[in-house]
Symmetry: C2
Subunit: 249 residues, 2 copies
């Protein structure tokens, strides 16, 4: 059982997708003593199973609250994650993944997600937002870069009542991106240190019967990183047993 937050714990808003990275971020925020208010998004993504994963992760890691906001990105189209007419790329090697901005790009996604987090932070009286972006494996998402996060933080400090009321010295509101400079292997190591059960997480772009496909860019990055730690990605289920193909006694 996770420890509950201290009564005087400062509130933080944690963006939680249900994937490996944001689960790690929640564990880090909890370890820093924050009462974590998690925010997930239902944005018409194909992989609704990740929202169930977010709820499991929030519960397992002792979040104070967990909200899912419905947002309407589908009207804008333009991404394989939200547009059924496009195919998710499979079996690409890392060179292909990093060569261009992927078809799975959702326009302005982190800008929109951080805007909602800012709204919730203001209502809760929180000055700390956490997001699991990462510049090492960002593979072409411009809104995962440190310069974007720093710029959003400056904008957020100008956008809110709290920002106006704060002294002009330090930025009042912080956008924490604790995974920014970590490799996937380092992220998983950090999460394991903080008790994340990665079997609860879900990162697949194209799940089959709610199970990770094992072949999309996201599955391949995870699987490779667990392999470097000498582990099998627990989201892929138990390893197949050689010889156990139902052909004998």
């Amino acid at each position: 059982m996770p420890e509950s937050s201290a009564p005087d714990a400062r509130p933080a808003v944690v963006l939680l997708s249900g994937g490996l990275d944001s689960a790690t971020v929640l564990a880090v925020a909890r370890s820093q003593g924050f009462a974590c208010h998690c925010l997930s998004f239902d944005y018409g993504q194909r992989h609704q199973v990740e929202l169930a994963a977010a709820a499991r992760v929030a519960d397992a890691l002792g979040a104070a609250t967990h909200r899912t906001a419905s947002i309407d990105l589908r009207a804008f189209g333009g991404s394989a994650l939200t547009d059924d007419a496009l195919d998710v790329p499979k079996d690409r090697d890392e060179a292909a993944m990093s060569a261009d901005i992927p078809v799975t790009y959702v326009p302005a996604r982190n800008t929109i997600f951080l805007s909602y987090a800012l709204a919730l932070a203001e209502v809760l009286g929180s000055t700390d937002l956490f997001i699991g972006v990462n510049a090492v494996d960002y593979s072409g998402y411009p809104d995962c870069r440190p310069e974007f996060i720093a710029s959003f933080e400056r904008t957020a400090n100008l956008a809110t009542k709290a920002g106006v009321e704060a002294a002009e010295a330090d930025p009042h509101l912080r956008v924490h991106a604790p995974l920014m400079d970590l490799t996937k292997v380092q992220i998983i190591g950090l999460g394991l240190e903080h008790g994340v059960d990665y079997a609860l997480t879900h990162s697949c772009y194209d799940p089959v019967d709610d199970a990770a496909c094992g072949r999309c860019d996201s599955c391949r990055l995870r699987s490779k990183a667990f392999g470097e730690l000498g582990r099998r990605d627990p989201a892929l289920g138990p390893a197949p047993k050689p010889g156990n193909w139902g052909c004998g006694g």
Copy 2:
């Protein structure tokens, strides 16, 4: 009938609330030759009638398209515009309006709205966003100030594929706020020059039977400005005729 856009007109995204200010902005953007793609929001506001006004205004001013995105601010609470348990202030003088951040504040509203506009701009291949914020009558909304708009523009140029692909010289994407330094009287004058029919617009915070209440901060600011131009606000309907109280002939 408004002229339609030239076939080679550059696309712009125009945030359109159905109110006086954004109608004026749409007229200004049209006059600059943009093909205007208007974006309105259904965010659980009490005054749904403003969405009908937005559709009328978009049509009357020759918008290329008009979309309404549903967004879920009500889950966050904290504002009289979205929370039925709070009262909209009435009959306040201008000193009271400007004394504090009003109870009608929606957390992070313009940050969220501009984020959606950015997403639509990216899908449309547009590099021009228009918003009707105004620092003269902003009465305490921090996200109506020029420093907020400038900061959002910088963030937007870091958030998108277009920003990444653009040369590092000029900002690629512009957030236009053509009303920023205008008084309400000047805004109305500008709109009248560009053919805005203000009878189609709706700004009231607390309409009664879809009609402007005439008493909330927004109605009072409009009404006073039309008065200074020697006009009656057309959104208030025909002026009552003295003596015509149904008591004779």
